[in-house]
Amino acid sequence: MALKTKTSTRIGVTVLGWGIALWLFFPIFWMILTSFKSEVQAISTPPKLFFMPTLSSYGEVFERASYWHFALNTVIVSVGATAIAIALAVPAAYSMAFLPSKRTRGTLLWMLSTRMLPPVGVLVPIYLLARNTHLLDTCTGLAIVDMLTNLPIIVWMLYTFFREVPAPILEAGRMDGATRWQEMTMVLLPLALPGIASTALLSLILCWNEAFWSLNLTSSHAAPLTAFIASFSSPEGLFFGKLSAASTLAVAPILVFGWISQKQLVRGLTFGAVK
């Protein structure tokens, strides 16, 4: 009887899990499906599930815009912002985790509070700063802003991961004569690598999908894939097929990347969860 209940619970949980997964994936599935429809099929009512697929939307997207230019900018900005953020966040999180002061907690909360401010609230000062430093429409400017936007969450995550590393291991390193730098780079970092990797992956995804600053601080030279997608929205005329094709092309690399690295991502996010 108990075995039966256990089996039915397991089946129920599996069905529920698949149901939620499919529900979450449905918008992406529909976007991909729409990208293979003609514009008339894309707006047909009731929506068509079965149709003759066409690559015409992809053809038009490639004809109208240089996808590779936007994709390269996205890669440069995302990787650049993530690398700088990790480089700054590791020492910050290290000092907060292993050399805390009475202000550490307050500093952490203050850092996180900057994430609660709507970005548009600081648009004018950041725009003026970018203009005066000649960083408008540059990957450098966008990478710096993306890095600063994500820095609080990265410091928080690394701080949490570092706290899971047993302090006696670091002490042992110190006893063996390691300097602070060696202790951080040769003992702490290898131990917390899954956590650092998952933080970097999350930062990469956040930078890849960032739209507000991309649309406001870039125009042509440094415009990333979010600007590429936005350029296919039209106030007059049918565009759902082309917009879906552009969106599919924009999310495809990060989707594939996320798929490949999902093991590391999950391992990192659950790092230290079970001792």
Partner: protein, 442 residues
């Protein structure tokens, strides 16, 4: 050791890429950056701009395509902060007079060969401030009625030459067949100053309503506004498609093109799209008529033009003017006709386009569009004197915010969250507050 080397190489490569990108943004002399929207005519312009570059080898064109509202925001920021990122901007006749008065736009002085008098007077006037021309029209639009000839024939109806709103309502009632997803009338319901309020402002004009009296006091609680909204709400509720508050221009275009609308009153630009069998399933069944008349009958009429202007912040004003003169010239119209066919030429700007027999043959709706734009008078008289210009908008900077806010209130009447009276009272209060805050009204 090798891992350290690889890390160093990666950091150096990244630094080089970021530095390179910073330097590249400076932009070479002779490169014009053009901010535009993703409309069909602009896409054609971008494709054909290679011809311009061939004829002007010293000028390279750099295109930035943005969503309409993002474009406005970016261009406003760029001009107000004198960044000079854009040399040519695509704006409408709502912005041109306001921005010209702010000193944000360069006066345009085309040469004699351009034949500025060939531009339809109503369009030219809408881009003029204090007697000076500040933008050149790329294409223009007014409003007209689209209807399904087959449904009218089936119901034994005939569209009059000058329909009234009462007649439109009767026709819509007769052809509505909700069981077969055929809705008698489709109108803009999506909230926004350029969406539902563009149509409703135009409707209000012909019902004798207006936004403000001469002392900038809103007149939303007037009987004319009540009649306007009562007609709009009752027509859409009785004969409109479900979820009308989600339907803007594009959604109604999709509904009509897929055979779900009997009548649609909207921008003349839809004519070319509905007539194109690649985009419309009812291409051979579309009928055209002028915009219906309301009880007042007169009033300012809808006029919109997407135009090319040169911001004063541009460092290459002369080259920018050369480009916009080319893109709005008679020769450009001929180039589009030769490369893309006459039906694809930008509509509503030049008299010479409508004089071309090839165009009239290719676009059977051409005479309706010409007539609608020729007779469009955004400065026309309202029932009572008014302190502003504009037909489907009010030509003041505050209107974007006011229009969108009122648009949301109007949408609430369609979804039964408010009655018409409540919506108008709420709109009256919010507009009064907004104008006090801006200092326009006391």
């Amino acid at each position: 050791m090798s891992r350290l080397k690889a890390t160093r190489t990666a950091i150096c490569t990244l630094a080089l890429l970021l530095t390179g990108s910073a330097l590249s943004s400076a932009g070479a002399a002779g490169t014009l950056t053009i901010a535009t929207v993703n409309n069909g005519d602009m896409i054609v312009m971008r494709q054909l701009s290679q011809e311009f570059e061939k004829a002007h080898p010293d000028i390279h064109l750099n295109w930035v395509t943005l969503e309409e509202n993002v474009l406005r925001q970016r261009v406003t920021t760029d001009i107000a902060m004198k960044t000079g990122q854009f040399d040519v901007v695509t704006i409408g006749n709502y912005e041109v007079p306001i921005w010209a008065k702010q000193g944000w736009l360069t006066e345009i002085k085309p040469d004699a060969a351009y034949d500025v008098n060939d531009i339809l007077p109503s369009v030219r006037d809408s881009l003029t401030a204090d007697g000076k021309l500040y933008a050149l029209p790329f294409y223009a639009e007014s409003v007209m009625t689209y209807y399904r000839k087959d449904l009218f024939q089936k119901a034994g109806l005939t569209m009059p030459d000058t329909p009234t709103y009462n007649q439109i309502r009767q026709f819509a009632d007769k052809i509505t067949d909700k069981g077969n997803q055929v809705y008698g009338i489709c109108l803009r319901g999506k909230p926004g100053w350029g969406e539902n309020m563009a149509y409703i402002s135009s409707l209000a004009n012909t019902f004798g309503a207006q936004w403000f009296d001469m002392s900038w006091k809103p007149t939303m609680t007037s009987d004319a506004w009540k009649a306007t909204l009562n007609w709009y709400v009752s027509a859409l509720k009785a004969d409109g498609p479900p979820g009308a508050t989600s339907n803007g221009f594009n959604e109604n275009l999709a509904l009509f093109a897929s055979g779900h609308c009997g009548i649609w009153i909207d921008s003349t630009v839809a004519g070319g799209l509905l007539f194109d069998p690649k985009q419309s399933q009812v291409a051979d069944k579309v009928g055209f008529a002028p915009s219906p008349k309301g009880p007042y009958g007169k009033g300012p009429t809808w006029l919109w033009s997407w135009s090319l202007a040169v911001p004063v912040s541009s460092h290459q004003s002369a080259d920018a003017q050369t480009f916009i003169t080319w893109a709005t010239s008679k020769d450009y119209v001929k180039l589009v006709a030769a490369q893309k066919g006459w039906v694809a030429v930008p509509a509503g700007t030049r008299a010479s386009t409508y004089a071309a027999p090839e165009y009239v043959k290719a676009a059977p709706f051409a005479s309706f569009v010409l007539n609608a734009i020729k007779t469009a008078d955004p400065n026309g008289p309202t029932a009572q004197p008014r302190p502003y210009t504009g037909a489907q908008f009010v030509g003041i900077p505050e209107f974007q915010a006011i229009g969108t806010q009122v648009g949301q209130t109007v949408a609430a009447t369609l979804s039964d969250q408010m009655t018409v009276d409540q919506a108008l009272t709420s709109a009256q209060a919010s507009i009064t507050r907004a104008l006090r805050q801006s200092g326009r009204a006391r």
